[in-house]
Subunit: 151 residues, 2 copies
Amino acid sequence: MRQTLRVLYAEDLTVGECFEIGSWHVTADEIVRFARDWDPVPIHVDEEAAALSPFGGLIASGLHTMAIAVRLGYDNFAGDVAIHAGRAIRELRMLKPVRPAMTLTGSIEIIEQRLRDDGRGVISWRNQLRDDEGNPVLQFVAEVLVNCRNR
Amino acid sequence: MRQTLRVLYAEDLTVGECFEIGSWHVTADEIVRFARDWDPVPIHVDEEAAALSPFGGLIASGLHTMAIAVRLGYDNFAGDVAIHAGRAIRELRMLKPVRPAMTLTGSIEIIEQRLRDDGRGVISWRNQLRDDEGNPVLQFVAEVLVNCRNR
């Protein structure tokens, strides 16, 4: 079980706030294992086919990169948030290929805070992963229902 | 390796065409295993905590449900498409909770076909999963660069 000292309620998540969510080292083994289960395109699971493709080698499934962003976000931010439920993902962009041996670093920025009368707030945040040079490789907006402290 | 007889090029994917992509039986074990790796929220990984939550029991991570949609889509449609690269996911909506023992059935509808001068087309399709009663539980739009037959 996750042990946490802080709980972030809807009132706490004000627009413009940023959270660093840490880093993830990508390996060829993880790229292949994830894609075999969920997105078994040759460019994600077959080193030889990938080498002959326009990308010149294995690249991660976009779904895998998104999963890394979700996991980093949970471990370093969302696990502390009083989430009732996720509602939507918007504007997911796969901006650059993710390759073995890259280290991805993530951040989350709050972009919408709409407190409702029913004790919950609609909170949207942008989750972005960057490569070793700081270039964005993937980003998306998550729209989440978060409990208010005062209900 | 996937063996396939058809290849679908950008010219073939006309707006309004629909493809059935088959069914997937969801289990509690798969819900917990996926979420332990990628989205370890108590409601996805802890039966007891989930039973006490407003949802009354385990529900699948939205990311897991999306992964099921991607896998069904690959096995029954996208694996035949001459995809160059995925570009974006838009309008992902988690419409209803996904619970153990549900069988999800998917479909894909082409909603955008924009052939470009460079031998590729921008193709967007809506991937939707429905529950045993036919109610949508998750949908999203995938925007993909697809090779043209004639380049």
